[in-house]
Symmetry: C2
Subunit: 295 residues, 2 copies
DNA sequence: TTTCAGTTGAAAGGTGAGCTATCATCTATG
DNA sequence: CATAGATGATAGCTCACCTTTCAACTGAAA
């Protein structure tokens, strides 16, 4: 029951006709599409030829529908109006939708939340919802506007901007770090079994991943808690544990890590709507400030 | 309250999306427009970018609408269906409409009607309505499919085909023609005051239009009747008065006329629908036969 | 009456939206 | 495990659609 478009005239022609019918003038119709009168006249002529019917009476003062013309116009007007209305409704809904941002929980807590009031000073009307996620969720499928991701970009099908960099650190509880007798090679690393970047960072730093003990706690929040309790070594971007460093609950262990965590602002492939663009601009303006205190 | 098309996505993209939504497959949608799957995929992607929304979940087995996608699809389906339906209704009406032919009354009587049964032998399903008209009426405005016109073509805005030619004759009642004592310069010409081609034909034949008497009877049928009654000279294409010549009610007067009446098949500028084309073909096949007996 | 502003028509030429062609990838299915 | 049929990506072509330009017509204003 699908429509057989091969036998129907071009939609451009139908739209031109509809506009001309409603305005009663080719010139005025042309203005509503930002084209010339000649373009509309050609489309209407083509439509008349396709149908084998005269749709307008022409005169020097404008055009007037024939009987057949007004019959056609009546259905086209409602059809196009329906379409336009449907699209506009979706656009409005989309425009007024709150900004949806996804980051790791730590990044949100230690970087975004302390500064978010500054953003709202500039854009009090923009509603933002944060979705913490450690997994690299599919932004587009989840209807997210912005993701902040650590790792190596770019990701396929997503637009990807450099955000900030932060040195990766090996961290542990002060009780361990302040103990000069610790044999670090015996301290377990609290890193996931499956994740790759942690092991790469270690091997880049001259640590053989096969020779170390690891404990997989399943999520970064637990890893940090466990690290604070002295269970082992935590591998994190400094920027993510700044709160713990400040509080003294974690200290940088004397194990140099030759790796830098790069954070990216990731967006869907299309041009961001204005609130999204505003938030991205604000984030990027933040970057130098973050990096300055970061090293 | 006209629609602002500048903010709406391209209709091509909307149509592609609608078809994909209904079929659940880019490839199948593509087939319904005779395009490739890539064309549809591009249009849908462009639409998604325009709206900043994901409309389909893609998989290797086809596509599935997202929530937003199905919302959009619902209004598009009805909108496009309305449009298609409106156009198709008009096309059907137009297709089944009887053939409308306009000729002079004489031409219809002496040329068409005697042979029309032959046409219906070939096309029994084509209904024809004849509108006799001596005035060069506007074919298109009157919704005519075919006109047969004498005079000089082409006419602006109309398609024009040569049909037949017939010598123009000066004719009078036998009582006059057979009377050797008639002074033809004193016999009035039964021609309209306003028409131009009759006077041109006369002056082409060496007859000064200002030196003759004329009587304007208002229409050709009356002119011929009056001619048969001996009221004066009639100027007609031979093909138009063949019936009178055969019956002996009019005879060719001994006044040579250096003019040939040319008949044209005139149609609206667009491609004729099948019944129209059939009738034109039949008419043109008739032409040699008419010319053969004509001179 | 003349001018002017605004309409439509016609035709030549330019250009970008939309298409094809092609290759790669993925997944059900036999 | 190979095949059929789906989607994605992209380079490049082409024609549908547009602009440009000129001419004719009309009604209102000067």
């Amino acid at each position: 029951m699908a429509i057989d478009w091969t036998k129907l005239p071009s939609l451009t022609a139908l739209r031109a006709f509809e506009a001309a019918a409603q305005t009663g003038s080719f010139s005025q119709a042309a203005r509503s599409f930002n084209v010339t009168h000649a373009a509309v006249a050609q489309q209407v002529r083509a439509l008349e030829e396709h149908l084998g019917l005269k749709l307008f009476e022409r005169s020097a003062r404008g055009v007037q529908l024939t009987a057949e013309g007004s019959e056609l116009a009546r259905t086209l007007v409602t059809g196009f109006a329906l379409i336009a209305q449907g699209v506009e409704a979706l656009q409005d809904k989309n425009r007024n939708r709150p900004l949806r941002v996804t980051t790791t929980a730590f990044f949100a807590e230690s970087v975004i939340f302390p500064r978010i009031t500054d953003f709202w000073k500039q854009h009090s009307d923009i509603e933002i919802s944060f979705t913490p996620s450690d997994e690299p969720i599919d932004l587009v499928a989840q209807g997210m506007d912005i993701g902040i991701r650590a790792g190596r970009g770019p990701w396929p099908g997503l637009r990807c901007l450099d955000f900030v960099q932060s040195p990766t650190r090996a961290l542990a509880a002060p009780s361990l770090v302040d103990d000069p007798g610790v044999d670090w090679s015996q301290v377990p690393w609290l890193i996931p079994d499956s994740s790759t970047w942690e092991r790469e960072a270690l091997s880049q730093s001259g640590i053989d991943a096969r020779q170390i003990k690891t404990v997989d706690l399943g999520n970064p929040a637990l890893e940090i808690r466990a690290g604070e309790e002295g269970m082992g070594l935590v591998l994190e971007a400094e920027i993510d544990v700044r709160a713990q460093l400040a509080a003294g609950s974690l200290k940088i262990a004397p194990i140099p890590i030759a790796h830098v965590s790069r954070f990216f602002i990731v967006t869907p492939p299309w041009t961001p709507r204005p609130p999204v663009a505003a938030f991205i601009a604000w984030l990027r303006a933040l970057a130098p400030q973050l990096s300055a205190t970061g090293d």
